[in-house]
């Protein structure tokens, strides 16, 4: 329980300078060493809090093994490990009501099958980034069938998150692959976009949501309606063969493609789908758009101008490769800003999976899927093509109750023993260790210790109630919602 206090160390004073008012943020020079900007010394040895920060923001929370392995070692080593360790799982595959998961048979199992991989994955960064792509190129099972399309798309995303298998993976290759991915062709009606019947749906979202944004930093539009119409023509002709739901593929039909000149971004050409990806990603607004999206997944405060410039250079000079960009983001000092007090709301998937990993609870029924629905982020069911809004909006009174209730339910899947004569302090320590030694503010620690002291402990039942309640309050209270 004292760990958070013990490890305050180097971040404490800087927090004061970091948090003033948002208005002045962009004009404030970055704090030396651990501010927002400049390369971090790759040999910076990580503290307890830094390991926790990295494994929450880029994973599903730290395990005791993660801490034992990485505390005292350089940030760059841990980030390199995340960016070079293949996707994989350990442990027993999840089940639903005693049966193997049947993801193509029902949608609850479809959701559970992915959550199961997240709970058991050996390199959590791969699943976090895979899920990021699902949120970025959001498709929903509500309008995609058969479900195999969604699963295949997730496999595609994982290819662009597993840098052991695909070290030079680029955003450009991903963008092309998603554009002709059967799930996307179905979700954004690309399969209906044929010569004689143009469909602008995907063309617009490709630019608005996936690569450019509507306007640039100066408020100028990044594309025109003409660009949308002409790009739609260039993208035409892709169809889906789903005769065998387990082997769905898309294919190009020349006769359904607009063969002829298109005016895109002011130039004429007989552009194809591959040309469109080249042209769109070459737009000046693109690098900042995708760099900002990836940065925002891990870091609350936007990058300052020099940092953004440096990240864009890394991205463009590598031919839109993802690994060097992600390495620079994850090792940026801004990752570790306000190190003694977390500043980002855990998205529901991170919260739910993180708690299951901390408690050692696996998938045995629909609980995880039900609560992801109740907390507002059920995989495969984004609210619309823009994905989940996220950020502070994750938390409202409904979702707070659902988050709390999930932990209370999950604790029912764990063994909680009794220690006769256990003191309040010992009960607190036992609960704290059992839930993975999470961050708790000093005031929260005091309050929980106070609860442990006043809670009944005269018999085994009362001591057990105290133990359950301590674990629930540590893992489901306000402090557990941030990372």
């Amino acid at each position: 329980m004292k760990r958070t206090a013990k490890h305050v160390g180097r971040g404490a004073k800087r927090k004061r300078t970091k948090h003033r008012t948002r208005r002045h943020r962009l004009h404030r020079p970055p704090s030396p060493g651990i501010g927002n900007g400049g390369p971090i010394d790759p040999l910076t040895p990580m503290t307890w809090q830094m390991v926790d920060r990295l494994f929450w923001r880029a994973g599903f929370g730290p395990s005791a093994q993660d801490r034992a392995r990485w505390i005292g070692r350089p940030v760059a080593d841990a980030v390199d490990w995340m960016l070079s360790t293949p996707a994989g799982t350990s442990g027993v595959p999840g089940t639903d009501g005693g049966s193997a998961l049947d993801p193509t048979g029902n949608d609850t199992d479809l959701v559970l099958s992915w959550v199961d991989v997240m709970v058991r994955c050996t390199n959590p960064f791969v699943e976090r980034l895979t899920f990021f792509w699902h949120r970025h190129w959001a498709n929903s099972r509500e309008s995609v069938a058969p479900p195999q399309l969604m699963m295949t798309q997730t496999e595609l995303f994982r290819t662009y998150a597993d840098f052991a298998a695909n070290p030079s993976a680029s955003f450009k290759d991903l963008a092309y692959a998603v554009t002709i991915d059967p799930s996307m062709l179905r979700y954004l009606t690309g399969e209906l976009n044929v010569k004689g019947a143009p469909n602008e749906n995907y063309a617009r979202e490709l630019m608005e949501l996936f690569t450019l944004g509507v306007v640039n930093a100066a408020g100028q539009p990044n594309y025109s309606q003409t660009d949308v119409e002409q790009i739609a023509k260039a993208l035409s002709g892709w169809q889906i063969n789903d005769n065998n739901p387990n082997a769905v593929y898309s294919y190009f039909t020349q006769a359904l493609w607009y063969d002829g000149p298109k005016l895109i971004f002011g130039n004429f050409g007989n552009y194809t789908t591959a040309d469109v990806i080249e042209l769109v990603l070459a737009q000046p607004a693109h690098p900042a758009f995708i760099v900002g999206a990836l940065w925002g997944e891990f870091i609350v405060e936007p990058p300052d101008a020099p940092t953004l410039e440096s990240l864009i250079k890394t991205y463009t000079s590598s031919g839109s490769q993802l690994k060097p960009l992600l390495k620079q983001i994850l090792t940026n000092p801004a990752m570790f800003a306000s190190i003694e007090e977390p500043t980002m709301v855990k998205p529901p998937v991170v919260y739910v999976v993180g708690a299951m990993r901390a408690l050692g609870v696996g998938i045995t029924d629909s609980t995880a899927s039900d609560y992801l629905d109740a907390t507002g982020e059920q995989p495969y069911f984004p609210p619309n093509v823009a994905g989940w809004e996220g950020g502070l909006s994750w938390l409202n009174t409904d979702t707070a109750l659902a988050r709390f209730s999930f932990i209370s339910t999950a604790l029912g899947y764990t063994e909680i023993g009794d220690v006769p004569g256990e003191t309040a302090a010992a009960a607190y320590e036992r609960a704290y260790t059992a839930v993975g030694s999470p961050w708790l503010a000093p005031g929260t620690q005091t309050a929980l210790l106070g609860f442990a002291e006043t809670a009944g402990s005269s018999d085994a039942d009362k001591r057990k109630e105290r133990q359950i309640a301590l674990r629930a309050l540590m893992l489901a209270g306000p402090d557990a919602q941030v990372m």
């Binding site: 927090k15 500043t343 502070l392 409904d398 209370s408 503010a441 309640a469 629930a472 309050l473 402090d479």
Partner: protein, 495 residues
């Protein structure tokens, strides 16, 4: 009435149509979902506290959802504009309100209001001997009847509708609303024994669509939806509320915004397998000061604290707790209590719809219909008292209807098949109580169905012209419809 027809009807006992009849009636997708601020239920907007330090009212309220409203609107409405409109409408003088209770499946009115005259009862008894009510008190498994005052002893309530006759326990029943049936003070229930349309359409779906549309065809809008389009608000979706997860077809509109509210959150923080007061412990943790610059932690602690307050505030409103007189453990009670809470909050609501029950009694009718009649009657009585305690009962009229009545002759499964001439009730102290339409008797038409006496659009017309305000012919196609014909010669529904 021949034996052959009965047999063919029995074969239709579990027709696909009936099997589907309990599924959702409505299928429109909402255009948005908005949180209902707890403050709005406790007297929005006057009581809205503005928290110290920077939080806008909007953000504060956004977090404090007591429930979620699904909005159906042609125009895009912002969250703020909705509550501004609700507040503005609430500030106007009290307006008249209709609450519609649709009894799903086709309620058998003939076993609810029983023809007990010496001319009719023998025919009633012979055609449905296996489910018939007996004259006078219930005895054993035989369910009795209680004569309705003012009908010249020609009609009687089936006892499940009556206070203190066994099925109702101590609860009050329809007889307390009906009073002496004269329409004088204390006679607040208008009864239409056979309201419908002709020719009968025995399909659940088509018939209920007619009732929802107020027309003998399926329309894109409901009859109350068209009233809202003409006379309602252009920006307050709370003017019409379906107490449901989806919107009733009767309040589908072309342009006016409407909404569906399924429930209010009555849960609080709880820790399973303990008796710990989690709300109190969470409140303590939420009160730990956070640096305002840390928006995430500030938000988390504020929301947790707010959640505790909301759950206390909503439970203070009595939602989800048994209120006096309501039948326990009934979905109808919950829905009516929620309706009373929302109406009591004064959000500018003019129409509430409730879809309840399972009245498609092809078999074992008595054991299925009677408990529901019992709940219906005591819930209606309790609802009236609930509204009175909130000081708004005089502004509320409650309409009860079903998509059709049932065949006069019972089948061999101790049930009845789809028929015509359904029971309609209109309740409220503003209603002229008593028999508001004749009973058609049990001779039936050539198909063995009751002959409708009152066109259902006659009732709708009266509700529009006499209560909600407006021109019925602008809302109901094929009109104007005949006026009300009360047993005493009266022609009005409302006092």
């Amino acid at each position: 009435m021949t034996e052959t027809r009965r047999t063919s009807e029995i074969q239709a006992l579990r027709c696909a149509d009936c099997a589907r009849s309990d599924s959702l009636v409505t299928d429109l997708d909402p255009t948005s979902r908005i949180p209902i601020p707890a403050e709005a239920l406790a007297g929005f907007p006057d009581g809205v506290p503005r928290p110290p330090g920077g939080h806008s009212r909007r953000r504060f309220l956004l977090g404090s959802a007591a429930g979620i409203a699904s909005i159906y609107s042609a125009a895009h409405l912002t969250w703020e504009s909705i509550w501004d409109a609700a507040a503005a409408q609430a500030a106007t003088p009290a307006q008249n309100i209709v609450v519609c209770i649709y009894l799903n499946g086709g309620n058998d009115g003939l076993n609810a209001i029983v023809p007990v005259s010496s001319a009719q009862y023998p025919g009633y008894l012979s055609q449905r001997s296996n489910i018939a009510r007996v004259l006078g008190p219930s005895s054993g498994s035989q369910v009795g009847t209680t004569v309705m005052p003012g009908t010249g002893a020609t009609l009687a309530f089936a006892n499940p509708l009556v206070s203190g006759t066994g099925n109702n326990g101590d609860l009050k029943g329809l007889d307390t609303l009906y009073g002496d049936g004269t329409g004088d003070a204390g006679s607040n229930l208008a009864v239409f024994p056979a309201a419908d349309y002709t020719p009968a359409n025995l399909s659940h779906f088509e018939s209920r669509d007619y009732w929802f549309a107020g027309a003998l065809e399926e329309l894109e809008t409901g009859w109350l939806g068209r009233w809202l389009d003409l006379y309602g608000s252009a920006n307050n979706p709370l003017q019409a509320i379906s107490i449901d997860t989806s919107l009733s077809k009767s309040i589908r509109t072309a342009s006016a915004p409407v909404c569906a509210i399924a429930d209010l959150s009555t849960t609080s923080f709880q820790i399973t397998n303990t008796s710990v007061d989690a709300n109190q412990e969470v409140a303590t943790l939420a009160a730990v000061p956070a640096d305002a610059a840390n928006q995430a932690l500030t938000r988390s602690r504020a929301i947790y604290g707010e959640t505790v307050q909301v759950s206390q505030r909503v439970s203070g409103l009595g939602v989800g707790q048994p209120a006096p007189g309501y039948p326990a453990n009934s979905d109808l009670s919950s829905k009516l209590q929620l309706a009373a809470t929302l109406l009591g909050a004064g959000l500018g609501t003019r129409v509430v719809t409730i879809d309840w029950g399972s009245f498609d009694t092809h078999g074992d009718e008595v054991s299925s219909q009677d408990p529901q009649l019992s709940v219906l009657s005591s819930a209606l009585a309790a609802f009236k008292n609930d509204l009175a305690s909130r000081g708004i009962e005089q502004n509320v009229v409650t309409l009860v209807y079903s998509e059709f009545g049932r065949r006069i002759m019972s089948n061999d499964s101790l049930g009845t098949d789809h028929g015509a001439g359904g029971l309609v009730l209109v309740s409220g102290s503003s209603v002229l109580g008593g028999l508001a339409g004749e009973h058609p008797g049990v001779q039936g038409d050539q198909y063995g169905n009751l002959i409708p006496i009152t066109d259902f659009r006659t009732v709708y017309s009266a509700l529009i012209s006499e209560w909600l305000g407006g021109d019925p012919t602008a809302i109901l196609p094929d009109g104007p419809f005949p006026g009300i014909q009360r047993y005493d010669g009266g022609t009005t529904l409302i006092r």
